[in-house]
Point group: C2
Chain length 348, copies 2
């Protein structure tokens, strides 16, 4: 068993406070005594103040949590999530804080538990589907948090983009190219759907806020050229991975009139779509969302959102909450990046 601060105090023959000060407040005791304490401590194998005990007493932890809806290992599968994490890490590093990655199990009870058990000073909520429940749990703990999905009540800290407008910009690019018969590809479309073609009677039925907003943005652009929601093909992917994107798009082959373009809600899905379509020799247009590094090399037309910034500013908002309520909401810019994966719709 490792010795405790108390043991050190007894061995040196001073009080616990003094030993504590030797570590945390060097100016509170003579350099000589301090050195004697530190030496004895080392000699006894005392590992220094126990972080957990210190946190309990001090009332803060020195770590912020990052919440992921999906399995934690997926977080690293999506390069955009990695960008976000990079930004959060930068800010955390800057503030001498650690990063606790908290995986949220699929079930609500488990998710709530995970949030309740995390020893952190605050949370960055990355893309939580059931945001409401999660956020309520965080609030119940009285901890600050920053969210990135569709703008909730104006009093919460939020860093994000105009999802709907961004999606619309990609879709307008396609309508401009003459595309009218298209498929929208996303994960998290409806709960418990099998991958492939799905019927969604109304965009508003999509529970995941980000997915909903992006689909709605796509639809806006098509509505503007007379293509209504029911005319859009919806493709559900099993999860947000390249493989799932590739798989979902296979369902298009069964259609009598396959769409001339696929609009994906993420680059990884779009890349998967390209894998399948190009593999089958089809030249359908494909757009993505995020602009991850691979998008460039694959020539994917996509919506760029500043991922690292998003992470960094989220964390900064957590560390230095603005006094001004206005500044609670940070809207980041997006840009449509046109590459070679999109082209004119074939004459019909």
């Amino acid at each position: 068993m490792k010795p405790t601060l108390r043991a050190v105090a007894e061995t040196v023959g001073v009080s616990r406070s003094t030993v504590s000060n030797a570590y945390g407040r060097p100016d509170q005791l003579s350099a000589e005594l301090r050195q004697r304490i530190l030496d004895t401590a080392r000699q006894m194998g005392y590992p220094g103040p126990n972080p957990t005990a210190r946190s309990l007493r001090r009332g803060f932890v020195g770590a912020i949590g990052v919440l992921f809806t999906s399995r934690l290992s997926y977080a690293f599968t999506d390069p955009f999530a990695v960008q976000f994490l990079t930004g959060v890490a930068e800010a955390a590093e800057h503030h001498g804080s650690s990063l606790l990655l908290v995986p949220l199990p699929g079930d609500l009870v488990g998710a709530r538990k995970a949030v309740e058990n995390a020893a952190v000073d605050g949370f960055c909520v990355y893309c939580a589907g059931d945001e409401g429940e999660i956020v309520d749990t965080i609030r119940a703990r009285g901890l600050p948090f920053v969210t990135t999905s569709a703008r909730p009540g104006a009093q919460d800290l939020w860093v994000g983009i105009d999802e709907r407008a961004a999606a619309r910009s990609a879709a307008e690019h396609l309508t401009g190219l003459g595309h009218r018969r298209v498929a929208l590809l996303s994960d998290d479309v409806l709960p418990d759907t099998s991958p492939g073609l799905v019927r969604v009677s109304d965009v508003a039925d999509v529970p995941h806020p980000t997915t909903r907003e992006r689909l709605a943005g796509f639809a806006d652009a098509f509505a503007a050229v007379g293509v209504t929601w029911p005319e859009l093909t919806i493709l559900a992917a099993a999860d947000n991975t390249r493989a799932a994107g590739a798989e979902a798009v296979r369902a298009l082959a069964a259609l009598p009139e396959p769409p001339t373009a696929v609009l994906a809600c993420s680059d990884v899905l779009a890349l998967g779509a390209l894998d399948t379509l190009r593999g089958a020799g089809q030249s359908s247009s494909v757009t993505g969302f995020d602009d991850i590094a691979e998008a460039a090399s694959a020539g994917l037309t996509t919506v760029l959102q500043p991922g690292v910034d998003k992470g960094r500013r989220s964390a900064e908002l957590l560390f230095d909450p603005p006094s001004d309520t206005e500044a609670h909401q940070i809207l980041l810019p997006t840009t449509l990046v046109v590459r070679t994966s999109t082209g004119p719709a074939p004459r019909s």
Copy 2:
């Protein structure tokens, strides 16, 4: 202020233990009483047992730490590090544990402090240059750890590859193709070196264990065909990024007789080298190390090491330490993957 367990106990009119049991050991009290406690707690706004206090009392945290030598944000810059993290995350998730990413400041004192303050049950040490100091600090805390760099004493938990043999395999591929005048590219070659050409009188002088072993492996292969260490050009990169690789290789242009091949200690550096060389219209051979996803699309010849496995098995070793001392060391296989970035040396 949020109410505490104690307040709940007083309000309900039961003892603290009973309230505690209501949360942690449902079988220790009647369903009815439990429900009454939980209801009152919710009503009072009690957020559930404080994780820090619980950790202190229980003596364990439910999180493992991952240590990176370099800046934490760099961890996400290198796809191989991301692979490793993915593996660790998988195992952690499986054990219901969280992942604490601990940024290590550049200075030793700061780094030691970071390790001392991390509230975790153990550490995965990823590629720590000053491994010795860091590992000593962890040991002083009495926490278990797993390391991945060059095999230390046989009593430590270790998951890794035969760095030297793996590097040698890449170099032998090049000697087989007739290359004799080559450059070795790495970050962390010597402390405080400016990027570009460096003189290293002896491989043994390289302090970073992984770098040293890989360079030594490269040298082995060339020694076997009569090319000695001083004849090898050493290129230092500012850090392990594509940009730094591209930059370092520019120094070759100044050489009277530029090398016919570049052997990099990582894929990101190799990709950077390709950027510069191909950009200058040169067809020099380039090899990498790791086999990240981009290596395939870039046609990079490289040494594949199982990154996700490395992470997963590291974490597993931490969670279920083998009783058998033999099993403390896990050696993972590597494979040379030959693609298009290497070819015969030009006739001189």
